[in-house]
């Protein structure tokens, strides 16, 4: 096993012919993984799969255990239960851990962790010790071109801006053509404006190099911008794994609905297994998940209403009172109160300037009716 990893290490992976096989759907497989420190459980029964070439994202509030999960995939933490596999090879299971240095998994750290005594090109070439000197130099120069730092090869890390340091860290991790790239809160040290452009750049660079990647963040916008699939982690458990669209529109529980995107919950009562009554009328729900299937007529439920489910319409007979207004440039985010005191959020183009306490007309346009017990 050791020899196999060593021969893989730093060498270009073969993607041709029969190596594309049934493994590709679960190229990275995290199966029932639990991790604890000092008898305190950090992660319990985490399972998900990542396709080859995809970018996955673990999203969750700070302290939910997402970084621990990333570090266990990197090989810095051992697992107490379950199994982590990459390309059908076991990396960690109970009582076994393949050392991080033998995994050929690249990592971009939150603080970048650039080697302060090495210049840009030497930082990038650091992991290329199994290449010849000229090969390593060619590869490093190639990556410098790809991250757009030509001319800064011999600068020291402290002479670079935050965004440039970040890209050097990315290039350094990509240089040995890792089997998997991990990114730990890669944009958290950058300005908000820089985050958006850089996350697009980073996604392009990763996709171009055909690398499978998994990143960790607490920022849903980063997750939406980067990821093909997103896992929402709620205090040590994987609440949901799916595409950005699914997570936003079809959250499996109230935590996911609340953490991802904005919205409010209205009180409701099931009229039948598929219909729900609220103050705003009766809705029919089409989605069915395990939790929702158990609902029966008469159950008290909460109905998720996203700002984009409500449309401001001056002609509508249904009105609500403005309680707060939040100017966002192109639009206003109004918090509205219904007659019975329940609140709604609505996004309105900013030329509709309404004062607090004004009654404004609204119309419902709900595509996905999401109901929780």
């Amino acid at each position: 096993m050791k020899n196999l990893t060593k021969s893989n290490h730093g060498q270009p992976m073969s993607y041709s012919g029969d190596s594309i096989n049934q493994n590709d759907d679960h190229y990275l497989s995290v199966d029932n993984v639990s991790i604890g420190f000092d008898e305190r459980e950090i992660l319990s029964n985490i399972s998900f799969q990542l396709q080859r070439g995809d970018i996955g994202c673990l999203l969750g509030p700070s302290g939910c255990g997402k970084t621990t999960l990333l570090r266990s995939i990197a090989g810095f933490e051992s697992v107490d239960d379950g199994m982590i596999q990459l390309n059908a090879k076991a990396l960690s299971h109970q009582g076994y851990i393949l050392p991080a240095e033998q995994r050929n998994i690249g990592m971009v750290f939150q603080d970048y962790a650039l080697f302060s005594h090495l210049n840009v090109i030497d930082n990038i070439a650091f992991g290329l010790h199994r290449f010849s000197k000229t090969q390593a130099l060619t590869r490093a120069n190639d990556l410098i071109a790809r991250i757009g730092l030509v001319g800064k090869e011999h600068k020291m890390p402290h002479e670079l801006s935050g965004g440039e340091q970040q890209r050097v860290a990315l290039a350094r991790a990509l240089a040995p053509e890792p089997q998997l790239l991990l990114l730990d809160e890669p944009f958290s040290n950058l300005d908000v404006e820089l985050r958006e452009t850089l996350s697009r750049d980073v996604r392009d660079i990763i996709k171009q190099s055909n690398t499978t990647a998994l990143m960790v963040t607490h920022d849903q916008h980063e997750a939406f911008a980067m990821a093909d699939s997103i896992g929402v982690i709620q205090s040590g458990r994987l609440a949901q794994w799916g595409s950005a669209y699914t997570i936003y529109h079809e959250p499996v529980n109230a935590f996911v609905a609340d953490f991802v995107g904005q919205g409010v919950f209205l009180e409701g009562q099931m009229r039948s297994a598929s219909e729900v009554n609220t103050t705003l009328g009766c809705f029919e729900r089409e989605i069915a998940s395990a939790e929702q299937d158990s609902l029966v007529t008469g159950d008290k439920v909460k109905v998720l209403i996203r700002p984009d489910d409500i449309i401001h319409d001056d002609d509508s007979e249904l009105t609500a009172r403005v309680i707060t207004r939040d100017f966002r440039g192109a639009e206003f985010l109004y918090t509205l109160a219904l007659a019975n005191g329940e609140e709604l959020l609505v996004m309105v183009p900013s030329h509709h300037n309404h004062a607090i306490n004004e009654q404004i007309g609204i119309r419902l346009e709900i595509d996905h009716v999401v109901v929780f017990k």
Partner: protein, 540 residues
């Protein structure tokens, strides 16, 4: 029943680094066990002799000396630190760093230079007699006061540096707070500045007490019998190792008490750690008289502790230069330098490996191992020399039982280097550890994720990043070994001499003018760490 498979699994998980950490802690433990072995097998006859004739006087002397030196160094250190950190007076900027220089003069050099200056036939009393016709009112230098003066002048820079740092980070700021609350400067000093600086004042005093307990050369010149000289005399005068060990175990009790107090005071320093003052606040402007008295006071201390001793040494050395600069002098010089270089390479190298191992295995076990290995800085050289002799002799006995011709280890460089490494490991470890702490754990993780780990990671990543700390560690160990007296004296191979030993031999025969040249060589080398400290101490 013992599960053998489980046991084998456990041993498999033990890495080379863990074994290394244990090995590093062994010499200190062996030395301590060596000293304590005397208590297990008490020799009643020597013990009663010691209890009757030696211990009462030496213990009393030791306690008086430690307290005396602590009081004088604290008074000097605190007042000088206050003046240079907070007040403004002529030549202040010069004194800020100049007052650190006496650190370069080891106690035993300070001692014979001061004796040379202040004894009856010395220049000071002669001048007095020329002017006044008599110098009988001049205090006798061969006295308790003389020892205290010599040690205090050599050791006050420790307190000065620590307390000055405390005053500098919060002194001026707390003065302003005091003023804003309606306190005068005098009231602020006593009610705010002094209490907040107390952990550092106490820390400095305890450090000085530790050095005083270890001192051997200074008290020997004054013929002032303390526990350290009693250890030496028991071994080399009475030829009784058990007696030496008994005395050493008494000295060990003092050391343990001071060490525990010092550890406690360091904890309270952390507790009251303040951010460094980046804001320049205006200093106190003294009135004309006090301004010039401040300059005069600093000048007095600086000349007594540095200028006059150095001039005294030069006056002795220069006329005899052609007589003294012989092949023999160069032999001592080469002996000292090469020994210091070997010790420097060995101790700094081991300290680097240990700091790296402790970083890699950040577990309670590693912390304990490091704490034991760096404990030796508190152990007086005399205690170490006799303490290590016991296990070394035992090992030689074992080897001779195996058929080797003995003694294999006794009287070799091995014993001496072992004792040095116990004594100076902390000196080398501290700067390396503080440099390593500045490297974030994600650097290690980054290196590992790129396939570089273990000793290759140390060489490619950590070593280039801790070059500054390694250099400091090497300089400090080099100079400390160069100045070291008791360990060298008691464990050196037959016929091996260093500058320090040469000074000891010459001064014990009263040949001060001949000891001056090797002493000057040591002072010159000792200036190196003083300059490192000056650079570090932010001499504003």
């Amino acid at each position: 029943m013992l599960n053998l498979w489980e046991l084998r699994d456990r041993f498999r998980k033990i890495s080379v680094w863990q074994v290394f950490l244990v090995v590093m802690a062994l010499p200190t433990l062996l030395a301590l066990l060596g000293v304590l072995s005397a208590l297990l097998d008490p020799d009643v006859e020597t013990l009663s002799h010691l209890a009757q004739y030696v211990l009462p006087q030496t213990i009393k002397n030791t306690i008086f000396l430690v307290i005396g030196v602590a009081v004088v160094t604290t008074a000097l250190g605190v007042s000088l630190a206050w003046l240079t950190a907070v007040c403004d007076f002529p030549l202040r900027r010069f004194f800020v760093w100049a007052l650190i220089l006496p650190m370069a003069i080891p106690g035993y050099v300070m001692a014979f230079a001061l004796v040379g200056l202040f004894e009856y036939t010395g220049p000071v009393q002669s001048a007095l007699r020329d002017v006044l016709g008599s110098s009988s009112a001049f205090p006798e230098i061969y006295s308790f006061g003389g020892v205290v003066l010599a040690l205090s002048l050599a050791l006050y820079p420790y307190t000065y540096l620590m307390v000055r740092n405390a005053f500098q980070t919060q002194g001026l700021r707390s003065l302003e707070v005091g003023q804003s609350l309606g306190l005068s400067i005098r009231e602020s000093f006593w009610r705010i500045c002094l209490p907040t600086a107390r952990p550092w004042i106490v820390g400095g005093a305890l450090l000085v007490m530790m050095e005083t307990l270890s001192d051997f050369g200074t008290v020997a010149i004054f013929n002032y019998d303390t526990l350290t000289s009693a250890i030496y005399k028991s071994w080399f005068g009475l030829y009784s190792l058990p007696a030496a060990l008994q005395v050493a175990s008494v000295l060990l009790i003092f050391v343990v008490v001071i060490t525990l107090l010092e550890r406690h005071s360091r904890a309270s320093q952390r507790f009251s750690q303040t951010r460094s003052a980046t804001l320049m606040v205006s200093r106190i402007r003294l009135k004309v008289v006090s301004r010039w008295s401040a300059t005069a006071f600093c000048l007095l201390v600086f000349s007594l502790a540095f200028v006059m001793p150095v001039i005294r040494l030069l006056y002795w050395a220069i006329p005899n230069l052609d007589v003294e600069l012989t092949a023999q002098f160069w032999r001592y010089m080469v002996g000292s330098t090469s020994l210091s270089m070997i010790a420097m390479a060995m101790i700094a190298g081991l300290a680097l490996l240990m700091a790296f191992a402790a970083r890699t295995y950040n577990q309670p076990f590693a912390k304990i191992a490091v704490r034991i290995s760096t404990m030796g800085y508190a152990l007086p050289g005399t205690v170490l020399a006799v303490g290590l002799f016991v296990p070394v002799a035992a090992m030689d006995n074992m080897l001779s039982a195996l058929g080797f011709s003995t003694p294999l280890l006794q009287g070799t460089m091995v014993v001496m280097l072992l004792a040095y490494s116990v004594r100076f490991m902390a000196v080398a470890f501290a700067p390396l550890e503080s440099n390593l702490l500045r490297i974030t754990p994600s650097i290690d993780a980054a290196s590992r994720s790129l396939g570089v780990s273990g000793i290759r990671m140390l060489a490619k990543v950590h070593l280039p990043m801790v070059r500054g700390g390694l250099l400091t560690a090497m300089v400090l160990v080099f100079v400390d070994v160069m100045k070291e007296l008791p360990i060298t004296l008691m464990t050196r191979p037959f016929g091996f001499n260093t500058l320090a030993v040469r000074i000891f031999e010459l001064t014990s025969e009263g040949l001060w003018e001949r000891a001056a040249l090797p002493a000057l060589a040591i002072v010159l080398v000792g200036l190196l760490p003083a300059f490192i400290l000056i650079r570090k101490s932010d001499a504003r």
